[in-house]
Structure formats: structure tokens, C-alpha cells
């Protein structure tokens, strides 16, 4: 995945809560076996409504999504992350995220930033008032900055390091192949196999 250190861009305000992964990418789009082309399915049903915020030309080219709480709840589909990234988003800001979505995001280098709801709403207000407002998301300093707003966010050191280095998890784990083998030798005798 691409390394993430700091990103500055314009943002889309999505004033909805419980934006589940079925909305981010409806199931009909999950039939693809490739990893590309999902941007067309991003919020496919909502985008049919001309007044939906992503259809507003003022937000064209925005790379940060500022959403209501519980973003990415529901299905484990990583396609939701792919769709957001392929559409052009690098960051999603919300006060709460679905656990699996958040995990999938960090595997792919889409940064999920958790900020208090009042800060999220201030950011939404700002980008609604002026869609050219830029937001800087600084993973190094764990900070979101926009105009006179400076907000810190939490992210664990390990995930931050992986994102900043753009590291492949599998490669990291394979360094510990000996430990895995040793563990396997001590597994309980009744555990089933599928063969």
C-alpha cells in the first residue's frame, strides 16, 4: 500500500449517521473478481439523487470525507474501502467507525480519523460554508488542521508506523514464521481439520 504521512485536500461533508457499507458500495457491485473499478459503485444508490453531496460540482476533486457517526458499519466488504480510495478519498473523518471497516481501511492505507462529534460538525460547517476549505491530516503529528482549527486524534503507534511506512502486513508476519510453526506443534489434539 502507499505510505501515508500527511495529506492536505478539500473535503466532502456527509451529514448522515450509520453510513453502512451497503450504502458505500451496494452488494451488486461485489460480484467483480478484480480489485479495480469500484469507484463507479461508490454510494451508487445515493448518487442517483442529484442533490446528494457527491453530485455537487463544488466538491469535485475532494479527497477527505467528513461523515456523521458510525461510518462503515455492517458488512465486512473491503470493497467499501477500495471504492472510497478509487474515487479519490485518502481520509475519512468521523466520530465513530465500524470496527471491521476501520481495520480494512488501515490495511489499505485509507486513513480513518476519529474526532469528537462537535469537531466533526465544525469541519462539516466549514466545508459547507466554503467548499474550497482545505483540511490537513497529519499522521506524523496525529493532528487535523483547518484554518484556526487544530484537533488531535488518537491512533496506536503500530498502525501509525505501518501506514507511514506503507508496509505489507503479510511480509511482517512471515518474519515470525518460526513462532507460527512452534505454535502449530503445540495445538490441542482434538482441533478439527477440514480434510
Amino acid at each position: 500500500m502507499d505510505a501515508f504521512t500527511t495529506h492536505t485536500g478539500r473535503a466532502v461533508p456527509l451529514r448522515r449517521s450509520n453510513v453502512d457499507t451497503d450504502q458505500i458500495i451496494p452488494a451488486v457491485w461485489l460480484k467483480q473478481v478484480s480489485r479495480t473499478g469500484f469507484e463507479k459503485g461508490l454510494f451508487a444508490a445515493w448518487r442517483e439523487d442529484p442533490s446528494f453531496v457527491l453530485n455537487d460540482p463544488a466538491y469535485e476533486g475532494a479527497s477527505i470525507l467528513v461523515s456523521g457517526p458510525d461510518f462503515g458499519t455492517g458488512s465486512s466488504r473491503e470493497h467499501a474501502v477500495w471504492a472510497l480510495q478509487q474515487y479519490g478519498f485518502r481520509v475519512v473523518i468521523a466520530s465513530r467507525f465500524g470496527d471491521i471497516f476501520r481495520n480494512n481501511s488501515t490495511k489499505m492505507g485509507l486513513l480513518p480519523v476519529i474526532l469528537p462529534e462537535d469537531v466533526v460538525e465544525r469541519l462539516q460547517d466549514a466545508v459547507e460554508a466554503d467548499p474550497t476549505t482545505e483540511i490537513t491530516v497529519d499522521l506524523v503529528e496525529r493532528q487535523v488542521r483547518s484554518g484556526d482549527l487544530v484537533a488531535s486524534f488518537e491512533i496506536d503507534d503500530y498502525t501509525r508506523w505501518r501506514l507511514m511506512e506503507g508496509l505489507d502486513d503479510i511480509g511482517l508476519t512471515l518474519r515470525h514464521a518460526d513462532a507460527v510453526e512452534e505454535y502449530e506443534n503445540g495445538r490441542q489434539p482434538w482441533l478439527p481439520t477440514t480434510v
Partner: protein
């Protein structure tokens, strides 16, 4: 200090622990289906990696499969299923394809084969993997990157979630089911209430649930935001497992049971959070909105957005009522439905079909009613009991096994504006077909609704 069930199972699976890093967790069973795996297998091929433990991996075709006999008509769906077949063959993974006696929804077949056992770690590229926690396993859904990780290493790096106890006090009244219980729990704690937690369901009412009921409860843990749900194994669990094809036998069975009996939360263990719910006050529960937390007792009315103090909940309710085409104050029992769906990994097991059949026996349905067994094994068992004849005599459609209308990836969908009473797990906008409107219900309420065409409890008939 004592440990919780979740802590015991987690600790048993830590391959490697290092300061400032997530634990590396061993995975005992990896379930695969056609939707979330193709890109993971591609990743293996691109990096020249292989599947570390095909013998701890099992695949089935479920999300795309049609529930009427015949080939898959949608070429994109067909390609996805064919891709799984190619990948399973290339990497030596056992696959239950369409038409196979072992085929079925991934979370139905694991327990059915006895592959789901207490104390295991189980993952699948599907959020309803939490189902398997009913056996006292740590089971959770993962994304495709993690599917690839488990295929390549049989492990996952993960931080141990916090622990939450949901203490269900008292007993469920007659006519109130596991589905009503979990819908009431989600309405109470909200769709984000479980975020960051493994939930352990405890208490008298939980102990009295059958394995099927426990699976229904754990299945919907994710709808409360929880990573996993668990129930401590007991005699009910052991009886369910005894004699299943992959359950241990002979002396090893005894050893296993001895260990499984230790898989309970110690009396002096502490949970990070405790939620209590009184089972004895519950009644049949249904959803009125577009997330599983927007539910209410069937005897109540569609709420008014003004009832919600929290502005976020209020606007979510406004939006939900608009999407659902419902007016505040409408009695839930007056809501007319076009389709009834009985099935899915939530309620597609034999006990669910028995419950629906009991209500449909000698009655007629007035709506389109799809009965979709969760697996070919469930279908066979139901037919041996003659349940299919009951359904057909009532005018319901008796289908082949699959995920079906739960998420409408196959031809079983709602049309825009159509309304369903569904035993599945998600009432999200468009989940069962673009523009479709879903009310989540128990199999009993689904069957009674099929008879009247309105949301109905069996006691109303």
C-alpha cells in the same frame, strides 16, 4: 484475578506478543466464500505465496447462488463462483459447490459439520462470522486483505478487543424468541454500542436457548457494532456437537469436553462493561427503520423522530421513515408487507424452519413467501420431517440453500418500494434490492405475517 471467557480463548491463541504491537493470533478455522476471496487469491499469486493450511480452510458457494434449480444466469455472478472453484482447486481447498450435499451458507455449514467448536478462533470474510461464537469460540469477520493474510500465514495481527457482558436476566416469556432478544439488545445499546468489544451473552435466558437460538443471538452481535459475540459452552453445546462429522470422538472427545468445561468466565473476572436486560419483559420485536437498532416491540407504533433526544438519532429516524414510507404513530401491526423471507445465517437453521412450519401448518399465505434453508443439510433435514410439504401446502415457495434475499446478490430481491418481513439481519437501505424496505423479524413473526399480510405475531392469529 479471574479471566473472562474471551480472554481465555484469546490467550490460548497468541503466537507472538511484543510490546507496542498487536498480538499475532493463530486461526483455527478459515471459512471462505466466493465474494470476498477472489482478490485475496490474486494477491497470493502476485506475491508467489501459498495457502499455509488448506486443511484448516473450507469454502462454500452461498452469496450468489440461485435458490431455484439451474445454472447461474447472471454472467458476473457465474464468473465469481467459477473463480472460487478455480482457486479452491489450485490451492487444494475443500469446496462445497452448488448442488453438493454439503453446500450452504458459510455460517450454517461450519456448525453443521462440527467444525465449529468451543475455544477455537474462527474467521471469514463475512461480518456474520460472529455466529460461531455461540459455541464459545472467538469468531469474527475480516476484510479481503485479512483473508489473504490468513491464507498465507494462518494468523492475524490483532489487538484484543475490550470485553462486555450482556447479562440477560429472567426468562424469555412464551412466544418470545432469540431473534426478539437480540433485536431488543441492539435497540438498547445501538448499532455502535458494541464497537471495540467482544460481547459475552450471559444469564438464565441465554443458558436456556438452544444452539440454534444462541447462533441467532451471536450472529447479530455485529449489528450492535461488536467484533464478536460469545456464549460459554455447556451441555447444550456438547450435545449439539456429539457425533457430528468433524467433532472429536472416543478418548479425544472426553479430553476435549474436559477442556471445554474450563471455557467459562471466572466468578471473579471483570468485564470492561456490563449491560443488563430483563428478558421477562420482552415481547416480539421488529424493526421499523433502516438500521438494526431502529426496532420496537411489535405491539407499539412507528416512533416519531421528536421522541429522540439525540439530534443524530432524530435525523436518522426522519430519514429512515422517509425511506421506509412510514408515518410516525402508525401501529406496527398495521404495516402491510409484499414479501416474507425466512432464511439466512441468522434464521435459516432447522429449528427456524420448524417454527415457521408450525405456524403455517393448515394455513395459507397471502404474500409472496420464500422459505430458503440455510444449507442443503438443513433442506434435507426439513424434508425428512415433511416441513417442505407444510410450506408448499400453505402456498410458500420452498427453495434451494443460499444467502438469497438477505442481501439480494442472487435473483431473490425486492423491487423498489416493496416491503418485506425478513428473518435476516440487516434492514439497510436497498439491502434486499434497490429501493426495497425491510422489517427484521423472527421466523415466527415472519410466518404469521405471511398469513395476514401485515406484521403479525403468532398469538394474533
Amino acid at each position: 484475578m479471574g479471566r473472562t471467557l474471551a480472554e481465555k480463548v484469546w490467550e490460548q491463541h497468541v503466537v507472538r506478543r511484543a510490546e507496542g504491537e498487536p498480538d499475532l493470533l493463530y486461526i483455527d478455522l478459515h471459512l471462505i466464500h466466493e465474494v470476498t476471496s477472489p482478490q485475496a487469491f490474486d494477491g497470493l499469486r502476485m506475491t508467489g505465496r501459498t495457502v499455509r493450511r488448506p486443511d484448516l480452510t473450507i469454502a462454500t458457494e452461498d452469496h450468489n447462488v440461485p435458490t431455484v434449480l439451474g445454472p447461474i444466469s447472471d454472467p458476473v455472478s457465474r464468473t465469481q463462483v467459477e473463480t472460487l472453484r478455480k482457486n479452491a482447486a489450485e490451492f487444494g481447498i475443500r469446496l462445497h459447490p452448488m448442488g453438493d450435499a454439503g453446500q450452504g451458507v458459510v455460517h450454517i455449514i461450519g456448525p453443521q459439520f462440527g467444525l465449529t467448536q468451543p475455544g477455537m478462533t474462527i474467521v471469514c470474510g463475512d461480518s456474520h462470522t460472529s455466529t460461531h461464537g455461540a459455541f464459545g469460540a472467538i469468531a469474527f469477520g475480516i476484510g479481503t486483505s485479512e483473508v489473504e493474510h490468513v491464507l498465507a500465514t494462518q494468523t492475524l495481527p490483532a489487538y484484543r478487543p475490550k470485553t462486555m457482558a450482556i447479562e440477560v436476566k429472567g426468562e424469555l416469556p412464551a412466544g418470545v424468541t432469540a431473534k426478539d432478544l437480540i433485536l431488543a439488545i441492539i435497540a438498547k445499546i445501538g448499532t455502535g454500542g458494541g464497537q471495540g468489544y467482544i460481547v459475552e451473552y450471559r444469564g438464565e435466558a441465554v443458558r436456556k436457548l438452544s444452539m440454534e437460538g444462541r447462533m441467532t443471538v451471536c450472529n447479530m452481535s455485529i449489528e450492535a457494532g461488536a467484533r464478536a459475540g460469545m456464549i460459554a459452552p455447556d451441555e447444550t453445546t456438547f450435545e449439539y456437537l456429539r457425533g457430528r462429522p468433524h467433532a472429536p470422538s472416543g478418548e479425544v472427545w472426553d479430553q476435549a469436553v474436559e477442556y471445554w468445561k474450563t471455557l467459562r468466565t471466572d466468578d471473579d473476572a471483570e468485564f470492561d462493561k456490563v449491560v443488563e436486560i430483563d428478558a421477562s419483559t420482552l415481547t416480539p420485536f421488529v424493526t421499523w427503520g433502516t438500521n438494526p437498532g431502529q426496532g420496537a416491540p411489535l405491539g407499539s407504533a412507528v416512533p416519531s423522530p421528536e421522541q429522540f433526544a439525540d439530534p443524530v438519532e432524530r435525523s436518522a429516524a426522519e430519514r429512515a421513515l422517509e425511506y421506509m414510507g412510514l408515518a410516525a404513530g402508525t401501529p406496527l401491526r398495521d404495516i402491510q408487507v409484499d414479501t416474507v423471507f425466512v432464511g439466512s445465517c441468522t434464521n435459516g437453521r432447522i429449528e427456524d424452519l420448524r417454527a415457521a412450519a408450525e405456524i403455517l401448518r393448515d394455513r395459507k399465505v397471502v404474500t409472496r413467501t420464500l422459505i430458503v434453508p440455510g444449507s442443503m443439510g438443513v433442506k434435507k433435514a426439513a424434508e425428512e420431517e415433511g416441513l417442505h410439504e407444510v410450506f408448499k401446502a400453505a402456498g410458500a415457495e420452498w427453495r434451494e440453500a443460499g444467502c438469497s434475499m438477505c442481501l439480494g446478490m442472487n435473483p431473490d430481491t425486492l423491487k423498489p418500494g416493496e416491503r418485506s418481513a425478513s428473518t435476516s439481519n440487516r434492514n439497510f437501505e436497498g439491502r434486499q434490492g434497490k429501493g426495497g424496505r425491510t422489517h427484521l423479524v423472527s421466523p415466527q413473526v415472519a410466518a404469521a405475517t405471511a398469513v395476514t399480510g401485515r406484521l403479525t405475531a403468532p398469538a394474533d392469529l
